[in-house]
């Protein structure tokens, strides 16, 4: 399984929930809160659903909405992926 990068995560978010707000695509968003990027909890669930299908993993809904930044979300995906590996 290819490791999910922040760049790829932001691409998937744009596909699932549309363009974010406030920051340019090239800015370092790793520690910016999703709310500040213009993504709400439903955008997170939509993105999580897509990543679950693509990577064959399961992410708990409450953990998804508690992951406030891309760094926290990527850690969640990493843990789930290594857990099933």
């Amino acid at each position: 399984m290819e490791k999910l990068t922040v760049t790829r995560l932001m691409e998937i978010m744009r596909e699932c929930a549309g363009e974010g707000e406030g920051l340019a695509v090239t800015d370092d968003v790793l520690d910016v809160e999703f709310g500040d990027l213009g993504y709400d909890s439903l955008a997170m669930l939509e993105t999580a659903g897509r990543i679950e299908r693509d990577h064959g993993i399961r992410l708990a809904d409450d953990q998804v909405t508690e992951a406030k930044t891309p760094r926290a979300f990527l850690a969640l995906v990493h843990d789930a992926a290594t857990g099933v590996a």
Partner: protein, 412 residues
């Protein structure tokens, strides 16, 4: 005396055109938008014609954030609200926090979105269903999305009375204005161009099975055989006249002068339908008589029994051939919750231009109906119009609108 409710902005998206000007031009020219369905394969169905909105590119009008979470009809409604606010030269953020509300009419909600997601549910499994399904197919979604987009925190709501909804929503908006809210958005935009929505509409038994776009929807005609559905509608900015003046508005389309709604007795009760009573009460509400109405925009069901009921009501109130009657919806089909709102927009444009738009394709109106059906554009001095709408299940609504000239005369 309650302040008059005036229409200071309109946003129109109709099969006849995107924007009020395009819609009005096509309507005057009698350009029907009824044709073969293109948005899904209609081959397996009894009815195969619709009036679809053509050339609408949502990404040109809405931020990409809204596209994954909105149904077709919600995108149309969001753009209609944008255009209505722009037309009224109104910026909601400049108004008091709870000063603007929104009331829309709805029939089914975001059916096309729902169809797609339910298909995923059954064919691929629940993990494939969009998280946005949670609200995108909800019947209240247009009101919700419009209020979120513009930060409208005033009283809001949704009315579900099928084709009567467009008028009922505007009347509900007027009630809020009378309760002290400075600005309301009201109206309806609808459409469910998908097999699920289509099957749902077919169950009414009122859809035309004709394959000929010029013969499929012929209200009041001897060959009436049902109606053709369409998508679209209109949203309006409504304000009390004094508040509109106070904020510097100098012109508006007209005034919502009168309204009434009635509900028909159940089939088999032996009691008469109540459309006539709705008309009479709307006239009373406007402080007008039948002689003050210059044109009627008919509900025009296209089903012989329903056409007869409407003709009977018109004859009872206005006398035989007593008032010009038109049905421009012969070009757009019936737009569910959007239809009556579009008729109201067309009526206001008719008052502004002094022209009654035509009823197209009808060539043999039933003589016994004794209605003066307008088959070609007719230039007339118009100061007031009556708009009628009936919703499946027994809903009747009647609304009287007056053009702006008259209210200015009265004010001076």
């Amino acid at each position: 005396m309650t302040a008059a409710t005036v229409v200071t902005g309109m946003g129109v998206l109709a099969p006849t055109g995107l924007g009020a000007a395009a819609h009005w031009t096509a309507t005057l020219r009698g350009h029907s938008a009824i044709g073969r369905i293109t948005r899904f394969d209609s081959e397996p169905y009894t009815s195969r014609l619709a009036a679809e909105i053509d050339g609408f590119a949502p990404e040109e009008h809405l931020p990409s954030r809204l596209l994954p979470q909105t149904d077709h009809m919600t995108r149309l409604a969001l753009v209609a609200a944008d255009w209505a606010l722009e037309d009224a030269a109104l910026t909601p953020s400049a108004l008091p926090e709870y000063g603007v509300g929104v009331v829309t009419a709805s029939s089914a909600g975001g059916f096309e979105f729902g169809h797609r997601e339910l298909e995923k549910l059954w064919s691929k499994g629940p993990e494939h269903v969009s998280a946005y399904q949670s609200f995108a197919w909800f019947y209240a979604v247009n009101t919700g999305q419009i209020s979120i987009r513009h930060g409208l925190r005033g009283p809001s709501g949704v009315l579900v009375t099928e084709q009567a909804g467009g008028l009922d929503a505007i009347a509900q908006a007027r009630r809020h204005l009378r309760g002290g809210i400075p600005v309301m958005i009201g109206g309806g935009v609808d459409g469910s161009p998908c097999p699920w929505g289509w099957v749902a509409q077919q169950t009414s038994g009122r859809l035309s099975a004709s394959r000929d776009p010029a013969r499929a929807y012929l209200p009041f005609d001897a060959d009436a055989s049902g109606y053709v559905p369409g998508d679209g509608g209109a949203l309006f900015v409504l304000e009390p006249e004094d508040a509109a003046r106070e904020r510097g508005a100098t012109s508006w389309y007209g005034e919502i002068a009168g309204y009434a709604a009635t509900f028909d007795p159940p089939p088999g009760s032996g009691r008469p339908p109540t459309l006539r009573r709705a008309i009479e009460r709307a006239l009373d509400d406007a402080g007008m008589t039948a002689a003050d109405v210059d044109v009627v925009f008919a509900d025009a069901a296209g089903v012989p029994e329903l056409d007869r009921i409407e003709a009977d009501a018109l004859r009872a109130v206005f006398g035989p051939h007593g008032v010009p009657v038109t049905a421009p919806k012969t070009m757009t089909g019936r737009l569910s919750a959007g239809g009556a709102a579009l008729d109201l927009a067309t009526a206001l444009l008719a008052l502004e231009h002094g022209v009654v738009p035509p009823t197209v394709n009808v060539s043999r109106p039933v003589p016994g109906y004794e209605i003066d059906l307008v088959l070609r554009p007719r230039r007339l001095p118009l100061s007031a119009a009556l708009v009628l709408a009936r919703g499946y299940g027994g809903f009747n609504a009647a609304m009287v609108v007056r053009g702006p000239r008259r209210s200015e005369h009265e004010a001076s």
